[in-house]
Symmetry: C2
Subunit: 310 residues, 2 copies
């Protein structure tokens, strides 16, 4: 049983370490040829995981066993983490574990450096470069990129996620005029996760609308989205990929058949071309890549900051 | 009008540069005392934005004007970006722009280094460290952290987002037994964005359930979630913050009154303590921080990899 967090105490004290503290956990034996990797952070660990994973992706021949240790120094005790790294170094192949660290406190960084691990410091070196360039000392207690932000930003994000839920899969035509983007596509081309990513990370109001057989008899976009054509963005994919994805939902259905998928994809792409709406294939792209292309092509990167406060 | 992407062409060729290419865009005049910052990437730019912003957050006294240039070398022409950086350096205060770069191609990195900008290379140095440690050469064409991943991973993510939408705000009790976490809280404590973040980034099945006045007459958790108490996680906040957030939705309502908020928060925290479910205050935490605490305290970090393929 995880002990309850005491929400009434101060922020950092509120996060009582779980009964099995991540710093004390016994390491499972490493598979031969696998290197232990730790993402260690005094905050959420998201930055360490993101950049560390981006770096490791360049070594496709190597195998890694990944562990994330967040909130080091507040929730997670430094001693226990150093001991865990030392244990990891002593076992298996004997290769020192690799640590991707985003730790601001110089004292804690020093302790980590003493562990039997290869520490790749993702913050400190660049902070020094920035200090030199900006002629200012980094206030390492001030910065918290994944911190709270202001209330307005919080409202925008909450509103965006709620708008996305309300307008998922054409559920509501209400307030479609407020949408920053309307993603249109046949079923299972990736509308929903892309919508959610844009809402959550950029605070954009994103609706999505399915293109079903019923929408194709006419020459244009579905009636509800047609007045907003200039804010529409289309998704497509390959018929083979679409069929795979649909089989996962409804195996051996007409819906998932290659013939049906081929037909729907061809009709959708024809529609996009005829109505001059930009479109993109999700077949070879992640949700992040699709979101980045949509932001760029619809010129939406700076939009949230321009939106007037309500 | 943004030209349509040709989805049938090869991935990189498919992304025709928008009519106003980001590399060619004229810079708006900088406000005095503001430093131009560019996040430049040959991929989505997400890693550059994440780490670059984390670094800048340590200089709260400085003002930055941020620009993201993704897909450099494929969609975005290098020459135009170098020219844009040079223009930026020449205008305003005359301070060189700061560039956070995640560019793998050594040739493109070399070109960027020649621009009149301070280039902070977020990848190359660390790649060299890793090469030395792993005794392998980085295959910079292989790695794409924000790339597609495998189909199973894609399915999991899609399923997770759909589960989150279906189970938002107690809408459905169906299949609640499959949930990895059930977030419970009074209205407007941050259930929905936290749910979506966990679903989108960790592929977890997350439901959320509101605690309304009706749920409090009894001694325990709401009837629908009670059988799953060991997977429940509670959110709370301060009455003042809750009142602010509710005023934004329904100004001057009883719902948003400080008295009502005080009452609901007290009841919710009492319930969490009585039923021994872990909880956390969203008053001083971002969605990312709450997600990281929930992952850690519920021991969910490695869960998706353990889930059997369907």
């Amino acid at each position: 049983m995880v002990p309850p967090f005491d929400a009434t105490a101060a922020p950092s004290a509120a996060m009582t370490p779980p009964a099995t503290s991540p710093g004390e956990r016994a390491e499972p034996g490493l598979v031969a040829g696998t290197r232990a990797v730790f993402f260690v952070s005094d905050s959420t660990g998201i930055t360490a995981e993101t950049l560390g994973s981006a770096l490791l992706a360049n070594f496709p021949g190597a195998r890694f066993e990944r562990h994330t240790i967040p909130f080091l120094g507040s929730v997670t005790a430094v001693d226990a983490v150093v001991a865990r790294l030392d244990r990891s170094a002593a076992q298996g192949t004997g290769d020192a574990p690799i640590v991707f660290a985003t730790v601001k406190d110089a004292g804690i960084r020093g302790r980590l450096a003493d562990a039997g691990a290869v520490v790749i410091d993702l913050l400190a070196g660049h902070l020094t470069e920035l200090e030199a360039e900006l002629g200012a000392t980094a206030e390492t207690r001030a910065g918290q990129y994944h911190g709270l932000g202001d209330l307005e930003q919080y409202f925008r994000r909450m509103r965006a996620v709620e708008f996305a839920i309300e307008h998922d899969d054409g559920q509501s035509g209400r307030d479609l005029a407020s949408a920053d983007v309307i993603i249109v596509a046949p079923s299972r081309c990736g509308k929903t996760p892309t919508t959610m990513y844009l809402a959550l990370h950029y605070g954009l109001l994103v609706a999505n609308y399915p293109l079903t057989d019923d929408d194709f008899p006419t020459d244009g976009l579905p009636r509800i989205v047609a007045p907003h054509a200039e804010r529409c963005f289309g998704l497509t994919t390959t018929a083979l990929r679409l069929s795979q994805v649909r089989h996962e939902r409804r195996p051996h259905s007409t819906y998932a058949s290659l013939a049906q998928c081929t037909l729907e994809i061809r009709r959708a792409e024809d529609l996009y071309r005829r109505t001059h709406i930009p479109f993109l294939s999700s077949a070879t792209r992640s949700v992040e890549e699709m979101s980045a292309v949509i932001l760029q092509s619809m010129n939406l990167r700076d939009r949230p900051r321009e939106r007037p406060t309500p």
